[in-house]
């Protein structure tokens, strides 16, 4: 099984802890400075979402490799209310993001692959993957 580490998100400080974990992992896996910053930003967004909308949850980081390629998966999970309209959340809400490129579309852009699973009343699991180029 692949190496996995995690941070519980309860307070805003945990966002920083999750970022730290993600940056360290990204560095060790071999990502360059800019990609480390991108992965960290994606974690920031996901952790912030948990903190704001689900109250609590966790960020896990998994190192992955496949056919000589190395990468990282961020898994953000919570037992919050779930997302009623996924299509809407994945739409670029340009005006709501105010050009910050934030939210789920932002995470999708920062990473290579993005999957979302959500059940109303049960929670949400988001998996975002990035490979070293």
């Amino acid at each position: 099984m692949s190496y996995r580490s995690s941070v519980e998100i309860l307070t805003e400080w945990d966002i920083v802890a999750a970022r730290q974990l993600g940056r360290n992992e990204a560095k060790e896996v071999g990502f360059g400075t800019v990609d480390q910053a991108r992965i960290t930003t994606a974690i920031s967004e996901l952790a912030r979402n948990i903190y704001l909308y689900a109250g609590k949850g966790k960020i896990e980081i998994e190192r992955i490799s496949e056919g000589g390629k190395f990468g990282i998966i961020i898994i953000a999970s919570d037992e919050g209310p779930g997302i009623p309209d996924v299509r809407k959340v994945m739409e670029d809400g340009f005006s709501t993001s105010g050009g910050l490129g934030a939210g789920m579309p932002g995470v999708k852009r920062l990473m290579d692959d993005f999957k979302i699973e959500t059940v109303l009343g049960e929670g949400t699991v988001i998996k975002a993957t990035k490979w070293i180029r």
Binding site: G98, G99, L100
Partner: protein, 334 residues
């Protein structure tokens, strides 16, 4: 550039240069969020950085400062793209408001009432891929013996399709008779479409009529997706084939109609190609999967079937509809 920003950034930079912690980087990124919101261009950020660094380390060689001047020059076009983005966002917002309004106008213009006949259940779901729907459903009924439904799809999506749809509506309005034969309906609409639509616009239409007295479903098609017939006794699907030219190609077409006798529990599934051409990353969702899905739901009400099928297919496609999605079921309940 307000001096306050420079002062704040210098403090963040001082902290970070002293201790390279995640918390200081987090502070930096949160600050950059504010800068974007305050419309500070990226070249300004470089300039702020340069000034802060100059104040902290005035002894650095001239070359370093020259290098920053080049970096500012490099950023100017990024800044322009950024400014362009701001105005594009505003346009996008206006467009969104306009499209919402247009979708509303379309809904009012194209509204149709689902007939209520005893012995017949009707289920309908029609979801546009974007704001405006290029699929069109129109019901005709005498509220007693006959229920007719037109399921149409403009080849194309969005606004141009929506404009075309408004034309079909006026054609259908002029019919006002639920007993009209399907072939005759297609005939009339074809003539209207041919007359007023661009040569490069085509519309496919399926027209079906159910008569509760003799339980016969009569149908004709103008180049439309075949309907599915579910035989409850056999527990099997068959396709309701019907040949016919798309609407608007030539002025005079004689459409042919067919009929099928329905027993209790049988139902007809009419749809647009947005249903049959659902696709995931791995390719099209196979027809059989859709048929199996409907099969597994066949004891449910007509509306439950269509709703469940939509939800399932939406999920399979990762919540990205590539085409307008319309599904209508006529189910004989007694």
């Amino acid at each position: 550039m307000p001096q306050e920003i420079g002062r704040q950034y210098k403090e963040i930079l001082r902290q970070y240069v002293m201790r390279q912690t995640e918390q200081n980087l987090y502070a930096g990124q949160n600050f950059s969020r504010q800068l974007i919101q305050k419309n500070i261009a990226p070249e300004d950020v470089i300039s702020i950085h340069k000034v802060a660094l100059e104040e902290m380390y005035p002894e650095l060689p001239m070359n370093v400062w020259h290098s920053f001047d080049l970096l500012i020059e490099m950023m100017i076009r990024y800044g322009l793209a950024h400014a362009e983005h701001q105005s594009l966002i505003q346009q996008q917002e206006e467009m969104k408001v306009e499209m919402d309004l247009a979708a509303n106008v379309q809904k009012t213009l194209l509204k149709t009432t689902v007939p209520e006949l005893s012995g017949l259940e009707i289920g309908l779901v029609s979801v546009p891929a974007r704001k405006m729907n290029g699929d069109y459903i129109y019901f005709l009924s005498d509220n007693y013996h006959n229920a007719g439904v037109a399921v149409a799809d403009v080849i194309g999506k969005g606004i141009p399709a929506a404009l075309c749809m408004s034309m079909i509506k006026y054609g259908m309005d002029s019919l006002q008779d639920a007993t009209s034969d399907p072939k005759k309906v297609l005939d009339i609409i074809n003539r209207i479409v041919e007359k007023s639509v661009n040569d490069d616009m085509f519309i496919s239409m399926f027209y079906g009529r159910y008569n509760v007295e003799n339980s016969i479903f009569t149908y004709a098609s103008a180049g439309h997706e075949p309907a599915l017939f579910f035989d409850a006794k056999k527990g099997e699907f068959s396709e309701l084939h019907a040949k016919g030219l798309l609407l608007g190609v030539v002025p005079n077409v004689t459409y042919v109609q067919h009929e099928v006798k329905m027993e209790t529990g049988d139902f007809v599934v009419m749809m647009t190609d947005g249903v049959t051409e659902c696709r995931t990353e791995d390719g099209f969702i196979e027809q059989e999967i859709i048929a199996e899905l409907i099969h597994s739901l066949h004891e449910e009400s007509a509306q439950t079937i269509v709703d469940s099928v939509f939800k399932e297919l939406e999920k399979m496609q990762n919540f990205e509809l590539r085409d307008d999605f319309t599904l209508v079921i006529f189910k004989k309940t007694s």
